[in-house]
């Protein structure tokens, strides 16, 4: 039978035993936990206030005081890197939460109701899958910012990233729901007297949940990248400290032209490592919940 339906009932220790067998998964987990630790302990590990401007120390390459050097304003880039982790993780997690909730709900409904509602939702999913998400995000952020709502820009970005990133999840959930709902236990549940909502929540959702979970971790990677992109393009809040904003200022201050590689490489590498970490975790979970993807070990 379909491997994704294998119950996620293994207790945590059992899950860990399988998970820890995957080098990719363990490496990803280490990377992600490392960034979480930095974000949580930012106030303790950062040597300087990331907003502190020292006019006497600008454009300095990495040295014994400023490990990652300084930028044009005289900010300590190492401290900025550390604080920037927080924004990436916050946006990544919350935007994913929105994406996953919306994606799972729409996937469930569009798969379960195969008639009018399902068809309609399917078209909505298609629409969101097909439109290029970057221009859409730019337009949405611009609209929200133009409305001058009292909502902080960070939350606007979370919302926009979340609301544009659910379509892949919805499609995957939908396809799985389409097969699960044809299984006999669903018919039995209906015979027993369960209504549509109960069947969806209690019978179908638990069967597609491993997919939701694996997909969530993968979505975080996309959300982190989307946030960096928006910041880089200057759509974020210029007063927050984030990796995307560092790249944004590096670009607008001609860091490449001036040869200030230390202003560009650390955020770039950090983004890659964080995205890679989440992706590796996501793939490992997917492999565990779907044994067909799992390589056989002697």
């Amino acid at each position: 039978m379909s491997g994704t339906l294998i119950p996620f009932r293994r207790s945590l220790s059992q899950f860990w035993r399988v998970y820890s067998g995957s080098k990719k998964g363990v490496l990803g987990l280490i990377l992600v936990l490392f960034f979480f630790a930095i974000a949580a302990l930012a106030a303790y590990v950062s040597p300087f206030d990331p907003r502190l401007i020292d006019p006497g120390r600008t454009w300095l390459p990495p040295n014994s005081v400023n490990w990652f050097g300084t930028d044009w304003f005289g900010h300590d880039l190492f401290s900025q890197m550390i604080y920037g982790t927080q924004v990436s993780l916050i946006v990544g997690m919350f935007a994913t939460l929105i994406s996953i909730i919306v994606g799972t709900a729409i996937g469930l409904f569009s798969g379960y109701y195969s008639k009018m509602l399902g068809e309609f939702l399917e078209r909505v999913i298609d629409f969101f899958l097909v439109i290029p998400y970057l221009p859409l995000m730019i337009v949405l952020v611009a609209i929200f910012e133009a409305m001058e709502t009292p909502i902080p820009i960070l939350w606007v970005i979370i919302f926009v990233v979340g609301i544009t990133g659910w379509s892949g999840t919805a499609r995957i959930i939908r396809s799985q729901v389409l097969t699960v709902k044809e299984r006999q236990f669903v018919e039995r549940a209906r015979a027993v007297g369960a209504g549509d909502f109960r069947i969806m929540a209690k019978h179908i959702l638990p069967n597609v949940f491993p997919l939701v979970f694996a997909n969530a971790v993968l979505t975080v990677a996309g959300a982190v990248l989307a946030e960096v992109t928006l910041d880089f393009l200057g759509l974020g809040d210029v007063t927050t400290i984030s990796w995307g904003m560092m790249l944004h200022f590096a670009l607008s201050n001609s860091a490449v032209y001036r040869g200030a590689w230390w202003w560009i490489v650390p955020p770039g590498v950090a983004i890659i490592l964080l995205v890679m970490g989440f992706t590796m975790i996501g793939y490992s979970i997917e492999e565990i919940s779907n044994p067909r993807l799992r390589g056989r070990k002697a």
């Binding site: 119950p7 236990f185 209906r190 027993v192 007297g193 369960a194 209690k202 019978h203």
Partner: protein
């Protein structure tokens, strides 16, 4: 208790209707056990599912009535029907392997109908679920296990426990022993007999295996091509089958006391229910068929409760 009159259930298909159940009538008394037999595709399951209107979306009841305690289930509102299902009539589905949700504990699944139909606390429902598990002969400590940890026979027991959850009066068992080995089959048969006796349940047992019916039922209805061809008590059916199809079915079963010959099969294949033959549907395969059989045979009462639909009797 249950009266089915002229039931017709058709499936929509390309090029017309598949007449899976065409003009079927039978009657079931309180505490009675009816066996519904016939080969694959003869409409047994469709007939039984029509009783509780649990049909696939492309099937519909085109006519007739299903009177349960005087109320017509065919015309009943969805809400009322939901109250009758499981509280009054429950089903043991075909294929216990697939009728259990793989990610939910057995106790949760048995408790589900109780929670849906009765105002009881979760704790009470689980308590009852555990009792039911024990009742069908499984260690109640195993109620917290998942379906994949059970064997085929145990899953069938779980399905039976689930059917009994709301103490129904009528249980429809759809092929409860199919795909089980002989030993397990016997155990399930014993369980069914035990339930009939202890709970004074009425049962409708659907099977293609006449031996199961011989063991567990009092009345037998033989179906062929969507129609009832013979209806009688178990003894009469086996002692003196009247319809050629019934005798064919019985002959197709090896007799342990008889000679060691291969059992006879019935030549030909079941009719296409999209375009069933006019007249007697069994006629093309029947050795006794003649001109008379090109018209639909009337249901004849032979003696007491023995009906047969055949021109030759």
């Amino acid at each position: 208790m249950l009266d089915v009159h002229n039931l017709r259930t058709f499936y929509r298909a390309d090029g017309g209707y598949v007449k899976a159940v065409d003009d079927v009538s039978f009657h079931l008394d309180e505490g009675e056990a009816l066996g519904l037999a016939g080969e694959s595709g003869c409409g047994k399951t469709t007939a039984a599912l029509s009783i509780v209107r649990l049909l696939p979306s492309n099937a519909s009841i085109m006519g007739g009535e299903v009177l349960y305690k005087g109320q017509d289930i065919v015309k009943m509102s969805g809400r009322k029907l939901r109250r009758i299902r499981w509280k009054e009539i429950s089903i043991v589905f075909q294929g216990a392997m697939n009728a259990l949700n793989p990610v939910k504990r057995i106790a949760d699944q048995i408790a589900e109908p109780i929670l849906l139909h009765e105002k009881v606390s979760k704790e009470d429902a689980f308590q009852r679920a555990r009792k039911l598990v024990e009742f069908v002969g499984i260690d109640k400590a195993r109620a917290k296990d998942y379906p994949h940890e059970f064997s085929g026979g145990m899953r069938q027991r779980v399905m039976i426990a689930m059917a009994l959850a709301c103490s129904p009066r009528l249980v429809i068992l759809d092929e409860p022993t199919t795909a089980l080995d002989v030993m397990t089959k016997t155990q399930i048969q014993e369980l069914v007999k035990d339930l009939q006796k202890r709970l004074t349940l009425s049962t409708i047992l659907i099977t293609h295996d006449l031996s199961v019916i011989a063991e567990t039922c009092e009345k037998v209805a033989i179906m062929y091509g969507g129609q009832l061809v013979e209806y009688a008590d178990v003894v009469s059916i086996f002692e003196k089958p009247l319809h050629p199809y019934t005798s064919g079915l019985i002959r197709a079963f090896p007799n342990i006391y008889g000679s060691r010959e291969l059992p006879l099969s019935i030549p030909g294949s079941p009719p296409d229910l999209l375009h069933p033959p006019d007249g007697c549907r069994f006629a093309p395969r029947c050795s006794m068929a003649d001109k008379e059989c090109s018209e639909a045979p009337p249901a004849k009462t032979v003696s007491g409760n023995h009906y047969v639909a055949c021109w030759k009797r």
